[in-house]
């Protein structure tokens, strides 16, 4: 059966990824009939109303889903289509209460026009009472208008019209429940509630599953996964981010605020590169927003230069049992860290478990960082949120069952894994280097430098 999804026109590249993931989670077949990043309307096929409801009720980027009654370029054609294709459905809706509404994308209708539009559907034999709040059935006429900022130039009619019967609303109201502005404890890098919930959906968070975030910070991702019923763990190299000021102003405080503390398995202070997690295929999902080294340092345990830092190593040997001892940390390579994440996910995820992480990259092709790969992990989808000169991607992988892994590729990878060269944060992190140089190319940087020298000479 055909259904019409009304999406939000935001985070476009995430929308299908989310709906497809939710279909996998609900175990229902989904076929995309027509979709465009430019339009909030998407035509899909689901086996039943229940399947459509199960998928959309968890969705964050869809508004709602409708049983599809017709699509046309003009209202007159739409009426013809509805009369031709849906007459057999009409008897079902004769008695129950109903409501007809209008949803104009990029356009608006006056009250008078709305009434006229609604009255044009008077051929539908609905005799039940009209209820504006919670009717048994809600029918909606959708209009898609052309993008035209000048009102005088606006076309007199929409480009496209759809008609459908409401099946289910999405979980979009969770965005406001988890809004960072209302959260008791956040930091500079807390993930916006909408994208955190979408990430949890794409990673297939669900009741009774085990999820882990190795860069937990203030707990944005675990909170989203816990909302969907998972038991969650988190860790961070900086214990202060989890402890906060204590009470309400801590990671546990955030879980308490949403009544989710029962789903928090535990948090601990650790470094992914020296993780205490037992290597076993026990996690259903790993999701994280690793540090990029721009807003937060990208560091792991260890000394930058073991030869020069003999004193601090000696001090560590003497002092490390002291509760006040703070172990030294060194800058680490961004690419090596991405590799560590992939290796960790390979060791920890159950078959078909998902790894979803955020990764920044420059928009300029020359400076772009490729999507990291691993023989045991299949890239499911890459979603991109574009900023001005850089963008961040949400990359999602699926842990392949061992029988599907290319063993020769795996052996090759094991051989190639070697230490990254360079010691400073800039050497180690190409994204950070480009970011602080304003994403200029080597030639542009050279030109600016010459210009500055010339100005000095004048």
């Amino acid at each position: 059966m055909q259904y019409l999804i009304r999406f939000t026109q935001l985070h476009e590249t995430f929308r299908l990824a989310e709906v497809k993931a939710l279909a996998v989670l609900a175990g229902v077949d989904l076929k995309i009939i027509s979709y465009s990043n430019e339009s909030p309307f998407c035509l899909v096929e689901f086996p039943s109303d229940d399947a459509a409801r199960a998928v959309i009720e968890r969705s964050i980027l869809a508004h709602s889903i409708y049983e599809h009654w017709g699509t046309a370029e003009t209202l007159d054609d739409l009426h013809i289509t509805i009369k031709r294709d849906t007459a057999h459905l009409w008897p079902l809706y004769v008695e129950p209460s109903f409501k007809l509404s209008i949803d104009s994308y990029r356009g608006s209708r006056s009250q008078k026009q709305k009434v006229a539009l609604i009255n044009s559907f008077s051929y539908l034999p609905f005799k039940g009472p009209i209820l504006l709040s919670s009717p048994d059935n809600e029918f909606t006429l959708f209009e898609k208008w052309a993008l035209e900022p000048v009102p005088e130039k606006k076309l007199s009619s929409p480009l496209e019209v759809h008609f459908g019967r409401l099946i289910a609303h999405s979980a979009r109201d969770l965005i406001s429940t988890f809004d960072l502005k209302k959260r008791d404890y956040i930091s500079t890098t807390s993930m916006d509630s909408e994208l955190a919930l979408v990430t949890a959906n794409i990673a297939l968070a669900g009741p009774g599953k085990l999820f882990y975030d190795p860069f937990v910070g203030t707990g944005s991702f675990p909170v989203a996964c816990a909302q969907f019923g998972s038991i969650v763990w988190g860790s961070d190299i900086d214990g202060r981010s989890m402890r906060g000021a204590g009470g309400k102003k801590s990671l546990l405080g955030n879980f308490r605020q949403y009544g989710l503390e029962k789903s928090l398995g535990g948090v601990f202070v650790s470094d992914l590169t020296n993780t205490p997690v037992r290597r076993a295929r026990i996690l259903d999902g790993i999701l994280c927003d690793p540090p990029y080294g721009v807003r937060e340092g990208l560091k792991v345990l260890g000394c930058r230069d073991p030869e020069k830092d003999v004193r601090s190593i000696e001090r560590g040997k003497l002092m490390y049992r002291d509760p006040a001892f703070i172990p030294p940390k060194k800058p680490y390579s961004f690419l090596a860290m991405l590799d560590d994440i992939l290796n960790f996910a390979t060791d920890m995820l159950v078959d078909n478990g998902r790894l979803s992480f955020w990764m920044p990259t420059a928009n300029d092709e020359d400076q772009e960082i490729a999507v990291p790969t691993h023989p045991c992990l299949e890239v499911v989808v890459v979603c991109t949120q574009v900023f001005n000169k850089w963008s961040r991607r949400l990359i999602t992988y699926r842990r392949l069952p061992d029988s599907d892994v290319d063993l020769s590729a795996l052996a090759l990878r094991k051989k190639q894994e070697d230490e990254a060269s360079g010691r400073s944060a800039d050497d180690l992190n190409p994204f950070r280097r480009h970011y602080f140089r304003g994403f200029k190319s080597e030639q542009e940087l050279l030109d600016t430098a010459t210009l500055e020298t010339n100005q000095l000479q004048i």
Binding site: P207, G208, K209, L210, I231, W233, S235, I237, G239, M242, R243, G246, L252, E261, K262, G265, G266, V267, F268, V269, S270, D271, T273, N274, T275, P276, V277, R278, R279, A280, R281, I282, V300, L301, G302, C303, P306, D309, S312, I313, G316, K317, M319, Y320, R321, P323, F325, I326, P327, P328
Partner: protein
């Protein structure tokens, strides 16, 4: 952290990873609290294969819980036996360790647990 977490954690020192006595970590001076959480049978049955039963038995005994059966219950056992299910739920999910230390039997390193958060950071000579 829940007792379940202890089943997933081992010593962070690299040379200990290959030592069998580095897992499980042994709680020392542990202060426990009990939460009241609704029992979820499906979750426990799903969780069972991911638990290292021998390690869990050790942890349970060390925390002062009654000894667990020597072999893990099968999903059928759990469905049929409400008491085992209840006990397991209480041990894994309702019991939290809030203060104390986790000790590695291989290297002797003690990881401090404060306010339910364990600290696994290591000094430079151990990474």
């Amino acid at each position: 952290m829940k007792v379940l977490s202890l089943n997933f954690l081992t010593c962070a020192v690299k040379t200990c990873k290959t030592q069998s006595d580095s897992y499980p970590l042994h709680p020392k001076d542990a202060e426990l609290v009990q939460d009241d959480i609704e029992l979820n049978e499906a979750f426990l049955i799903n969780l069972l294969p991911r638990i290292d039963w021998k390690a869990l038995s050790t942890t349970a005994t060390e925390l002062g819980f009654p000894a667990l059966p020597s072999t893990p219950p099968t999903p059928e056992d759990l469905r049929a036996d409400a008491k085992t299910l209840r006990d397991l739920h209480n041990l894994l999910l309702e019991t939290q360790m809030v203060e104390g230390k986790l000790v590695c039997a291989s290297c002797g390193h003690e990881y401090a647990v404060r306010e339910g958060i364990a600290n696994f950071l290591l000094p430079s000579h151990l990474v």
